[in-house]
Amino acid sequence: MTPTTLELLAVASALVAFSGLPGLLLPAGSRAVQRVATWCHVLGCALGVSAAALALAGSPATARFAWPLPSGALTFALDRLSAFFLVPVFVVSGLGSVYGEGYWAEAHHPKNGRKLRCFYGLATAGLALVMVAGDAWSFLVGWEIVSLAAFFLVTTDQDDAAALRAGWIYLVSAHAGTLILFAMFALLRDATGAWLLAPSVALGSSPLLRPILLLALAGFGLKAGVIPLHIWIPDAHAAAPSHVSALLSGVVLKMGIYGLVRVLSMLPAYPTWLGLALVALGITSGVLGVILALAQHDLKRLLAYHSIENIGIILIGLGVGVLGMAQHRLDWAVLGFAGGLLHVWNHAAFKSLLFYSAGAVIHETGTREIDALGGLFRRMRFTGAAFLVGAVAICGLPPLNGFVSEWLISLASFRALTNASGGVAMLGAAAAAPALALIGALAVACFVKAFSAVFLGTPRGPHATRDVADASRSMRFSMGALALSCAVIGLWPNGAASVSRRAADALLGTNAGPAASADLRALGGMPLFLLALIAVAGVAGMALMRPTALTTTWDCGYGSGGPRIQYTASSFAQMLVRLFRWAVLPDEHRPRLKGPFPAAGQRFESHAPDPALDRALLPVFARGRSLLGLLHVIQAGRIQAYLLYIVVTLVVLLAWSWSW
């Protein structure tokens, strides 16, 4: 096949990359700025999606360009795996650009709207570059473009101290990750003898295999937000504009997953320890992510921790797949990989949907504090419904898309369980199903809390009572499209599952076989069956429900219940947070009561600082800084002292050379 898909993709990426540039020539705050940027961006994304779709159906394409740097050439390769990851990149980014029309309108943000649109396009093009990179060099170039563009996106509101802090933490962790990747690719080059990201037989027997895989886990894990490397995620997602949060969570995190998967695709055989490590990391991230999410008061931080949870689910799927390959059990391997990869799509869809609807709420009310909101469903019907769809999907409940991928991973896990002779690998894979169940149950608790506190009940404060309208048309369009895709994947799982099966085949290369397609096909009937079940339950419930009549009842003395009597976000989650306080380590300030009622000014407060960032990393850094501060003595500011350092160095060097 001629590289036409690659050419199409190049045009798409160029359109997207430069979509924000014309706006820089137009006056700030004018409507033309956003019109031009959005149209260019949407057109580019549409072209990009069609290129990815063509590539998913067709065969791989590669292109090489001479390049004066040491690598000799830049290679681009578009196979089904790349195409699979390109789809969410362009879909989420394109919809986000439409969403941005209403959410970050030029008229309201003349100061930074043009900057936002510029870097939004650049980040998307960088993502596309990462996904089609055929060698380490182009991969790292794309990786850096995304890392830097995302920094400017996170700090869009350059007057907000919290955003700047989040951007700083992000920048530091992103570059730590890049540094690790430099080391990883250097070792990879040593082991394979080329910079190419292509399957290599030599890699399997190389003594460097273990360090390479560990570095890949660390470097890509830092981007994907695997606990305990998730430090940048909560702050950056909370501080960024909501469609940027959606891009970060839906696609940028997946860049880490893509890197990991790409490295996996290079291996000729999979070691068992790698699968066990992936499952263990996945379970840790999944469970701790959702527990930390439960403890949050900030709507977007809560969603950010759920991203960590979903990255955990993806890793569980990949880990089960690796274990299956290590055991030469193609059936669970394919199910695991297909489930993990499909969850990449699904998470991109429902998490972007959730961020969009949360963004609409924040846009209208001006706050991210869950405890300041309430009762918004009556005035934001569409947004509330979209949030509900996203919430049901993220909890892995049928009939939406989250269920499909989690079900595939569970199926893989069940397969492992029925395999009597698997040993430790079987145990690892079998652990996936109960972990998924636990994660799902906790996620339900978390989203009941989030949805009910934000949308149900009565308004809790001035933010929620102010003049709130439903989301604008462009925002509703983006939310609607994503909700629809959640429903389509959920109701027609065969289509999406066979696409992810193709991606898994591309990942496994020649290793893949025809196994396990029966399981995928059996999936087709599942949602219809479940829909029928839900319908039956609904009808039965309606039938059993007694007719309601308005009357006054004994109200336990709470007859005049105001907004303060409702469950708050923290009180709702209190029991679960208490249960998991060893992981959350919440900060509680409880006043000492001297009578039946608290005195004026006494209040109870609880916070959930991030265990890895606020409890471990920042204190360690602060201590290190105060220790290194002792070195300030050297920086005396006297010419004489600096000259003395030179003399001392010279003498030491001389003595050293003398002793040799």
Binding site: Q635, A636, G637, R638, I639, Q640, L643, V647
Partner: protein, 213 residues
């Protein structure tokens, strides 16, 4: 001839002690100037048959080292109205003692260097090294910018002596390099001095520490 060359070098080393041991800025500059005179005269005595070119170079170097720059420094001293006291960070006696120890150490060091047989029995290398050391000591232990310039001058004298070993191999290049270096050094220091005086109303480089981060 050789004895005369050694004598001149010993005189130059003595000037090191004088420059470090005096508390008077003027005496310090005078010592550096005299040292300049001695080290400039040295090539004439060192080389068996001095060429015309070497003679010219000696005259230029001697003029610059012994008259022009010290003259500039005197003028600077007159114009900036500061106390003619050295104000060392390290006391006069300790710095002289340190220089004595350093001179001894450089002599020891030089005796173990793999030198050409023709250069081995000469004092050139130890004298050059100890003069360098004296220059560094002046640069690092003195407060006033002018004494630092003097230190730099002495440092350059050491380099000049050392360069004589290479003079046969690559004649003018070394010399011109040394002189240029010297001039640049003086210019930089001159600029710094002007700047310090304008900004801080003093020539004390200790006050420069306000410029650190």
């Amino acid at each position: 001839m050789r004895e005369a060359a050694s004598a001149v070098l010993i005189l130059a080393v003595t000037m090191n002690f004088l420059a470090l041991g005096t508390s008077n800025l003027k005496a310090c500059i005078r010592a550096a100037a005299l040292q300049g005179l001695f080290v400039s005269a040295f090539p004439l005595l060192f080389t068996p048959a001095p060429s015309l070119r070497l003679l010219g170079l000696v005259i230029v170097a001697g003029t610059v080292k012994a008259f022009v720059i010290p003259g500039m420094l005197y003028r600077a001293l007159r114009e900036v109205h500061i106390k003619h006291e050295v104000e060392p960070y390290l006391g006069l006696v300790p710095s002289v003692l340190l220089l004595a120890v350093g001179t001894g150490a450089t002599t020891l060091f030089a005796s173990r260097l793999p030198l050409l047989p023709a250069h081995r029995d000469l004092l050139v290398v130890p004298v050059a090294l100890s003069t360098l050391f004296a220059g560094f000591l002046l640069l690092t232990t003195r407060r006033k910018a002018i004494s630092q310039v003097t230190g730099y001058l002495i440092l350059e004298n050491g380099i000049f002596v050392f360069a004589q070993l290479l003079h046969e191999a690559m004649p003018a290049l070394v010399e011109v390099g040394v002189l240029l270096d010297l001039l640049v050094g003086i210019f930089v220091m001159g600029i710094v001095m002007n700047h310090i005086q304008r900004e801080f109303g003093s020539l004390d480089t200790g006050l420069l520490s306000e410029l650190r981060d």
